[in-house]
Symmetry: C2
Subunit: 199 residues, 2 copies
């Protein structure tokens, strides 16, 4: 039923999606402020002036980049949801972080660095959008901890996600991927040590 190649609809959408993907990639690498419309247009192989047909403002493009990152996070957690044990899901998440250590050391966590940047603004509402993006991960993690019957699942989720954001920032600032390896190993040990009677 959903025609995936109707020329009129898909020609436009294809370009739009290319722009979204390029925005996510380039904004992650260069930061939102230092990225120009021209940078994104070039990366997406779209003429500069044409961008405004798909996105009214630069902020719309940044918001699209945020959405794209949330979407990719959804794909990951969706796969992890197939695992039976919540603890294995959480460990799978940590392993996924460890496997991305090179990217994290170079550019930081996509969502985290973007959130940090957007939180410097008050106008436009991009700052609250960044908060919502972070909360998606936080809520997913909290659900796993709750399913494990652990006390204060919300606090545990904050610790886990915070640890990830922190190690990504350190790895990035020091340009040392090994920080990710070491700290992810610690996190796995921590997850294994948690038992229902308190830690």
């Amino acid at each position: 039923m959903t025609d995936s190649k109707s020329p009129r609809v898909r020609a436009a959408s294809a370009k739009r999606e290319r722009l979204m993907a390029a925005a996510a990639r380039v904004v992650h690498q260069q930061g939102a402020e230092r990225t120009t419309i021209a940078d994104i247009a070039h990366a997406a192989d779209v003429p500069v002036g044409n961008v405004y047909y798909y996105f009214k403002t630069k902020d719309d493009l940044v918001a699209a980049a945020l959405t794209e990152h949330v979407r990719q996070l959804g794909l990951l957690t969706g796969q992890l949801d197939d695992l039976d044990d919540p603890r294995e899901r959480l460990k799978g998440l940590v392993e996924a972080w460890a496997s991305q250590r090179e990217v994290a050391a170079r550019y930081g966590c996509p969502t985290g660095t973007l959130a940090a940047e957007l939180d410097k603004r008050t106008e436009g509402g991009l700052d609250v959008a960044a908060g919502k993006a972070i909360r998606v991960l936080l809520d997913w993690a909290e659900r796993q901890f709750r399913e494990l019957g652990l006390p204060d699942p919300g606090g545990l989720a904050e610790t886990l996600v915070g640890a990830y954001q922190g190690m990504s920032l350190l790895a990035n600032a020091l340009r040392e991927p090994d920080v990710m390896t070491r700290q992810c190993a610690r996190l796995v040990g921590w997850l294994d040590s948690l038992s229902a009677d308190g830690s």
Copy 2:
């Protein structure tokens, strides 16, 4: 011997120091990219064009902001060094973080947010300067853990500082100072639980 008010030398330095302090404050609040020379000049009550007499480029001002934050961190750790027990020094650091929760929730960790922003650049060497700033804190913490005779003091320091960076980012993204309170309490508990025979 060090004349603190020789007019020729100090008149210049006074303005320079005002610009440094203003740069540290405004850059923390607005971010480096969104802060203009005019913003800093206005905050320091210095005519805009005059800034260039003290700092050749904007990057020089950003570097000065970084130095200022490192200096203030040095003041804090210097006070903590007076405590006898290394564990108490570390707990004192965590308590200092908790006391700054409102600022952290609004603008993030001064050093961390700046490092995340500057790591997006390759030219100018500001990115490695940010790394060095982070390392100052890391090294101080590692010294305390080593003095406690704990295994892998470097890894423990990464965990501690990473936890701080992470909770600051979360508190900032969610605009919730309570994240700082909760996670700092967890950190204190963690510090108390560490014993020399492994954790």
